[in-house]
């Protein structure tokens, strides 16, 4: 199943870390997923998130305010 991944963050170092972790997981496991970065604050607020960075998978906010480990991301994508 193809996943839509969105990363919410205004560009702080933590958001960059999260993006890298997610990209690594997708590449290493050859997952079928699209990754989009949402950087505009007005768009971020549509997800009702108050702490960045946040990870959105198929429209659901799954991680807020922290950078998860690769294993955690992989589990969320399977």
């Amino acid at each position: 199943m193809k996943h839509t991944i969105q990363i919410l963050g205004t560009g702080c170092p933590k958001c960059q870390n999260l993006t890298n972790v997610v990209k690594d997981v997708v590449v290493e496991n050859q997952l079928d997923a699209s990754i989009e970065k949402v950087e505009d604050i007005v768009d971020i607020m549509k997800f009702n998130v108050m702490i960045t960075p946040a990870l959105v998978v198929d429209g659901n906010v799954v991680i807020k305010g922290r950078v998860p480990s690769k294993e955690e991301v992989l589990a969320l994508l399977q």
Binding site: K14, C15, V42, M45, M50, I51, G65
Partner: protein, 325 residues
């Protein structure tokens, strides 16, 4: 409590490295090793404990609580207290602000949270205990909470809603108080623990270089600045010292980790604690990068008023500290 660590550092420097205990460099090294490990240990314990608290009071729950409950004036104190347990990252200040506004939380209460959150956080508390001891830490935390509360009250009285940027005004017009109780994830403690532990380690790793460099610089200053050096320029009777320290501090941006070990040496060398704390609050609590971020939601005028009021409160608390201590 830390005798064992002192012995360990002595053993390492004098026995393992074989340095002469009479040597100044050896003494400095021994002190540096002891101090760094002690502070990092305390820091980890505090960050970990705060992580546990935060895991049960995530920001969404805090917002829901403030939005749902009628607190008859206590909401400022509550928001300020919640600011203490919520880890703060300046990049989250805007989403936080909008989230609060959307939940119908008054602007002043939101400000109370925004002021205290960077001022009193887990890293600052951990370092404070290691450097200044428990009593000064309690005093610092209390004044941080009070500062947020009073700034929030004043800012509410000023009726600043008209100075928000247009899109935020729209959010404000559509604000709705949360009706439902926030359902926390029913995750057993055992499952939370590894995540909290990992987060705490990550935070510690992030601040580690700053803390160690700060302690090293502090150690050097300790050796070279004579006792009471600053008293000549900055004694308690110098009325300009506190406002000067505060104004100097605002453009500086540092997380508490870098600045605290240096402040501790300044205090040891004669700068009054109130002046030093005012300086520190200015550095940690208000920063230009944060002001730039807030431009998304506030007009420049509002940012100016916000910073002005908080600076005023910092100056007042600096004077109070100097009078009391």
């Amino acid at each position: 409590m830390f005798d064992w660590l002192e012995h360990m550092a002595q053993w390492l420097v004098f026995d393992v490295f074989g340095m002469n205990p009479e040597d100044h460099l050896a003494q400095a090294l021994e002190f540096f090793i002891y101090d760094s490990i002690k502070i990092l240990l305390l820091l980890f314990i505090v960050v970990f404990l705060m992580g546990i608290v935060n895991s049960y009071f995530p920001i969404d729950r805090v917002k829901n609580y403030l939005s749902r409950k009628k607190l008859y004036g206590m909401e400022y104190v509550m928001a300020s207290l919640f600011g203490v347990v919520t880890p703060f990252c300046s990049c989250s200040s805007v989403p936080l602000f909008i989230g609060f506004v959307r939940g119908g939380i008054p602007l002043g209460v939101t400000f109370a949270f925004l002021v205290t959150s960077p001022l009193v956080n887990e890293v600052a508390i951990g370092l404070f205990i290691g450097l200044f001891g428990v009593n000064t830490t309690i005093l610092y935390v209390m004044s941080g909470v009070l500062l947020g509360t009073i700034s929030g009250l004043i800012l509410q009285k000023l009726k600043l809603e008209k100075y928000l940027t247009p899109w935020v005004k729209e959010v404000l017009a559509n604000a709705e108080r949360d009706q439902e109780r926030f359902a926390t994830e029913k995750q057993p403690f055992k499952q939370r623990l590894p995540i909290i532990w990992k987060e705490a380690l990550k935070i510690l790793k992030g601040v580690l270089p700053y803390v160690v460099i700060g302690i090293a610089i502090g150690g050097l200053m300790h050796g070279y600045i004579p006792e009471g050096f600053f008293e000549k320029y900055m004694d308690k009777d110098n009325l300009f010292a506190v406002p000067m320290a505060t104004i100097l501090a605002v453009p500086m941006y540092s997380n508490a980790s870098g600045i605290l070990p240096i402040v501790q040496v300044l205090v040891a060398k004669g700068i009054p604690l109130g002046t030093a704390i005012a300086f520190m609050m200015g550095v940690v609590g208000l920063s230009l990068p944060e002001a730039m971020l807030l431009k998304k939601v506030m007009t420049l005028k509002l940012i100016g008023i916000f910073f002005g009021v908080v600076m005023l409160c910092i100056i007042v608390s600096g004077y109070l500290f100097n009078i009391i201590l």
